[in-house]
């Protein structure tokens, strides 16, 4: 996919932070639309921490799901984001498409700060950034037909002037994602997991987006279907000039599809690297540990190689460790790692690492 790489950034994320108030035991739940930009005025970025202090007692208790993340996605590339469960991958994805309002920092789409954009500009930006969800069973409204699911974005944004045009467009999109256009009047439960995921992709494509955030697009489907979906995403990227951000925990899949890969640990990006260098030249100890967990399909090699096994659990994002977040589990930690948070180090060739021990 590298031939589609341009150097113009489509999306810039600067020092993004997203803290969640801790769930309290009275059954109070977190409401995503509290965080959507509709509610908060754009020029008061500090409003959320204040609110959380009030709600959950002074002194924090906030879950630091994303804790100061910066990266740039270039037009036409596939940007991979990996990390283990709970490291904040999904939160980043959802913040990018506007489902959560960032606690701090900014998301800049084509030069426009999304938290400050209002009115038509905001709606247009929202249209151009879409999301594919992880669970194909939960991401489709069971009471709507496939035609209505794919047609809804068309209705909302007025992309079809009459019923026939709408019908035609829906069938075109269904055809594009490899579904039989004649299934337009069926309900989601009549489809298999892979087909449902295709419906989800069709819905995202219906508004002609430029950037699609794929949140673990294949982790919930069969291995045999995974390849089909991934190949289809690649085909769509070539046909429609899409930019992808793919969130996953499967390194081999990420390496296969991505141009660049960011590795996340506990709300921070620890390493950013071109995917061809990911296996060849991993620098951060966490990246190395992740890579060594990927099984190799050769019993000879597999038996001989030394695996790096991480001790202990991921620390709580409510109260992360001092200094480098990874020092509690790092095999090559230095005394300095305990004290000072490492800065980003540019290793050249587009590779960035945050580690003291290079």
């Amino acid at each position: 996919m590298a031939q589609y790489l341009h150097d113009t950034p489509i999306l810039e994320v600067k020092n993004l932070k997203k803290y969640f108030g801790q769930r309290v035991s009275t059954g109070k739940t977190k409401h995503p639309q509290d965080e959507t930009p509709d509610m908060a005025s754009g020029d008061k970025p500090k409003i959320l921490p204040e609110k959380q202090k009030r709600l959950f007692g002074a002194g924090g208790g906030a879950v630091k799901a994303v804790d100061g993340v910066s990266f740039t996605i270039k037009t036409g590339e596939t940007f991979g984001l990996v990390g283990e469960s709970g490291c904040g991958k999904t939160t980043i994805g959802r913040t990018l498409v506007g489902l959560y309002k960032p606690t701090e920092g900014s998301v800049i789409y084509k030069g426009v700060d999304l938290s400050k954009a209002t009115g038509a500009l905001r709606i247009r930006n929202r249209r151009q950034m879409q999301m594919i969800f992880q669970d194909p069973y939960a991401s489709l409204n069971p009471r709507m037909t496939v035609g209505d699911i794919v047609g809804e974005p068309i209705d909302i944004h007025g992309l079809a002037s009459n019923k026939n045009e709408r019908q035609e467009r829906i069938q075109q999109i269904l055809d594009l994602v490899g579904l039989n256009p004649e299934h337009i009047n069926r309900y989601p439960h009549e489809f298999s997991g892979g087909q449902r995921q295709r419906i989800g992709i069709a819905r995202a494509l219906a508004v002609e987006p430029e950037l699609i955030v794929c949140d673990e697009p294949v982790s919930a489907v069969d291995v045999s279907i995974q390849a089909q979906i991934i190949n289809m995403l690649e085909r769509l990227q070539n046909e429609l000039d899409l930019t992808y951000m793919i969130i996953a925990h499967d390194l081999s899949m990420i390496k296969y599809v991505s141009d660049r890969v960011a590795v996340m640990y506990l709300g921070k990006i620890v390493e950013l690297v071109y995917s061809e260098n990911l296996y060849a030249n991993p620098q951060h100890p966490y990246t190395r540990a992740l890579l060594s967990a990927v099984p190799i399909a050769d019993p000879e090699v597999e038996r001989k190689r030394q695996r790096i096994i991480l001790e202990g659990d991921v620390p709580s994002p409510i109260n992360p460790p001092s200094g480098c977040y990874f020092h509690t589990r790092c095999s090559s930690a230095l005394p300095i790692c305990r004290e000072i948070e490492p800065e980003k180090t540019d290793l050249g060739d587009g590779q960035w690492v945050t580690c003291h021990n290079l």
């Binding site: 739940t29 409401h31 995503p32 639309q33 509290d34 959507t36 509709d38 959802r94 498409v97 506007g98 489902l99 709606i123 929202r126 249209r127 950034m129 879409q130 999301m131 969800f133 992880q134 669970d135 939960a138 991401s139 489709l140 409204n141 069971p142 009471r143 709507m144 035609g147 809804e152 974005p153 909302i156 944004h157 039989n180 004649e182 299934h183 337009i184 009047n185 069926r186 309900y187 439960h189 989800g200 819905r203 995202a204 219906a206 508004v207």
Partner: protein, 309 residues
């Protein structure tokens, strides 16, 4: 087994296409199609329509008036002249049951419509808005709940009797029931919405740019339809019984008007001597309630596309 070559031939490209486009139907057409396949629900629906029709036009064809007393024929059993017999004042019970149907059914319908309209929207908005709005809205419901339901209705009835004109008994029942009947529905719908709104298809609706109103109406409420229908169907008998109780303690419709509950409670005093006075109104209540429950059941199933066969 031997298969000769003649048994095989190439398909024409037209024949390969076996998938036929399912006719485009709206959600409600689809639900109606499924409901039609449920004989019990359809029988109930027909029965309810019949009861409503009889309640509307029946009294017009009856030779007796619901209030005309005839002391020559009191407490008669069922006969050719008086199908359901007569009561202690010689009034034709059949005519009174038909008249009672008007009052009881209208109370049931008003209660369930209010439950549907007010309760679903109130609970939906509270659950969807969340946070402080939800807190304030639901504490108000809790306050309403904390007053015993009948006490509340009785208080309203007494108060409304003061401010409304003399013959407004029925209207004050509507208002009193309306004020309390939507409460359980609001709670149920809010609970459903709270659990639904975190689902990915709601997040997806946000990302494609759907307005909050659209998400509430198109995505959230249709997915709570099962509990909504059940609660709304249960509201009908509850309202009929509440009205019966109110009539029993003298706060319901005033004599000589009759509701099913009132007819039943009147009959209790002479139950041992004239049991038929209780059987007919009580039977009417039973049949209606059964029909509504079966219809509600059928509706719940037919509104769920997963039940599509």
């Amino acid at each position: 087994m031997k298969l000769s070559k003649e048994l095989f031939s190439f398909l024409q490209s037209k024949e390969i296409q076996v998938d036929i486009v399912r006719p485009s139907t709206t959600y409600w057409q689809d639900a109606w199609r499924r409901l039609k396949q449920n004989p019990v629900a359809i029988a109930s629906l027909i029965l309810i329509v019949l009861i409503i029709l009889v309640a509307i036009v029946g009294p017009l064809f009856s030779p007796y008036s619901y209030s005309a007393q005839n002391f020559d024929s009191t407490n008669q059993g069922p006969s050719a002249e008086h199908w359901f017999g007569t009561d202690g004042l010689g009034r034709d019970l059949f005519t009174r049951v038909l008249h009672g149907a008007r009052i009881s059914l209208s109370i049931g319908f008003v209660a369930s419509l209010l439950t549907l309209g007010v309760g679903v929207l109130y609970g939906g908005i509270a659950g969807f808005a969340g946070g402080r709005v939800d807190n304030i809205m639901m504490r108000f419901v809790d306050i309403m709940y904390s007053i015993p339901f009948l006490l509340w209705v009785i208080m309203m009835m007494v108060y409304l009797k003061e401010i409304l004109p003399e013959n407004a008994g029925l209207i004050s029942i509507y208002i009193a029931l309306g004020l309390v009947f939507w409460l359980p529905m609001a709670r149920i719908v809010r609970g459903q919405i709270l659990s639904l709104k975190e689902q990915e298809f709601i997040l997806a609706a946000h990302t494609i740019g759907a307005s909050r109103w659209r998400i509430l109406i198109r995505h959230l409420i249709p997915n709570c339809v099962g509990p909504i229908i059940v609660t709304a169907t249960l509201a009908i008998p509850e309202a009929i019984f509440t009205e019966a109780f109110l009539s029993f303690i003298g706060l319901g419709v005033s004599a000589p008007k009759a509701s099913w509950g009132m007819l039943a409670s009147d009959a209790l005093t002479s139950l041992k001597s004239y049991p038929h006075l209780l059987f007919f109104p009580a039977g009417a209540i039973c049949i209606t309630l059964l029909a509504f429950n079966f219809l509600g059941d059928g509706l719940r199933d037919s509104l769920d596309p997963k039940m599509r066969k």
